[in-house]
């Protein structure tokens, strides 16, 4: 699973998820991509599930690019714990995804294969997504 090698603070504020993506909303490496249409925190587990779904669907063909990185720590309190006694401990990492953000890109495969792989990946995500391709591909 993806996670930062080191972090500055273990407990940080959460983002407000307002507006659309200002960057990372156009294809940069591949010919096909999966674009987020809703704002959400995407966990490293979900990213890993997508990656596995894509690599199994592509059968080791082509190249996959992950355009998001879970760099935000999220804390949680243990089960059956009363409120108070300070903030919980580090639990997992999330990537902040805003509408328009391209999360995955694929290069070196046909459109049908890329579409199917990204369709399978989209089922692992808690948001609506859309398949996009470079404009100069027929």
């Amino acid at each position: 699973m993806l996670e930062p090698k080191r972090i500055h603070r273990r407990r940080v504020h959460r983002d407000k998820l307002r507006g659309n993506a200002n960057r990372g909303h156009q294809l940069a490496f591949g010919s096909f991509g999966l674009k987020a249409l809703e704002p959400k925190f995407i966990t490293s587990r979900q990213i890993e599930a997508c990656r596995v779904a894509i690599s199994r669907s592509l059968q080791r063909e082509g190249k996959t690019f992950i355009r998001i990185f879970p760099d935000r720590p999220i804390t949680s309190k243990p089960a059956e714990t009363r409120m108070g006694k300070g903030k919980g401990t580090l639990d997992h990492f999330i990537a902040v995804v805003k509408p328009g953000r391209i999360m995955f890109e694929i290069a070196g495969v046909t459109e049908e294969k890329a579409k199917e792989a990204l369709r399978r990946a989209s089922h692992k995500l808690p948001i609506k997504t859309k398949f996009i391709k470079r404009r100069d591909i027929g």
């Binding site: 993806l2 990656r51 059968q59 082509g62 690019f65 990185f69 290069a107 070196g108 100069d136």
Partner: protein, 218 residues
């Protein structure tokens, strides 16, 4: 090869956010024309469908722009897209002057199937899709066509290998345009054990990919 010049009809427009939004509702794209000898920028709009046609062709984008009864030779310099809908929001056109060289990106198109792919099942990776050049308008090429039929596994072509007479290439000559990677070992997942191994092996690769992506994005 000379690039195709597309005829584009433009209509003058009023400036302002409200006017631009109204144009976008009518499926028109607000645009601007500027150039080294254009004293005052010209503001106009073009039909979205015409702009999409130009964008869908992997060639240098040159146009004959018709505006207010005048014709301008232009280059589509920049297009802004909406992050979610991917519709063009605004376009920049650059007026070409015969005696003034300009810098622009020329698309790279691969021709043929590489030997390494045909015989050894290698994979083609093209990290560079556009090359920055400086040329006079009359020498602007439509695209760079690269024949990759002789490329074997682990062989690559770089910017320095391009045949570009009369064109000054601004990119680093050592920059790799296309490379033939060896086929990935193993085939489809056969058993549960293989599957686990494979997933474990891919983990390192995934982080590499992400790092590459992050590096390039910066």
């Amino acid at each position: 090869m000379k690039p195709t010049k597309y005829e584009l009809k433009a209509e003058p427009r009023d400036l302002g956010k409200k006017n631009s939004d109204t144009l976008r509702d009518e499926k028109r794209v607000p645009a601007v024309l500027y150039g080294p000898r254009v004293e005052e920028n010209l503001h106009f709009s073009v039909a979205e469908i015409d702009l999409e046609k130009i964008l869908s062709i992997p060639q240098t984008k040159l146009q004959k722009l018709e505006l207010d009864g005048k014709e301008y030779d232009t280059l589509l310099k920049r297009v802004e897209f909406h992050p979610v809908t991917d519709r063009p929001v605004h376009a920049d056109f650059y007026k070409l002057e015969d005696d003034i060289a300009l810098s622009l990106n020329i698309p790279v198109v691969l021709v043929g199937t590489a030997k390494g792919v045909r015989e050894s099942g290698g994979r083609v990776f093209q990290p560079v899709r556009r090359i920055m050049v400086r040329v006079l308008p009359e020498n602007i090429p439509a695209q760079f066509e690269i024949d990759i039929t002789a490329l074997g596994v682990n062989q690559s072509l770089s910017v320095g290998d391009l045949d570009a007479e009369g064109i000054e290439i601004l990119d680093d000559p050592s920059r790799t345009i296309v490379t033939i990677a060896p086929p990935k070992s193993g085939s489809a997942f056969s058993s549960a054990e293989d599957e686990e191994e494979l997933v474990g092996a891919e983990e390192g690769e995934a982080s590499e990919e992400t790092a590459d992506a992050a590096e390039a994005a910066e």
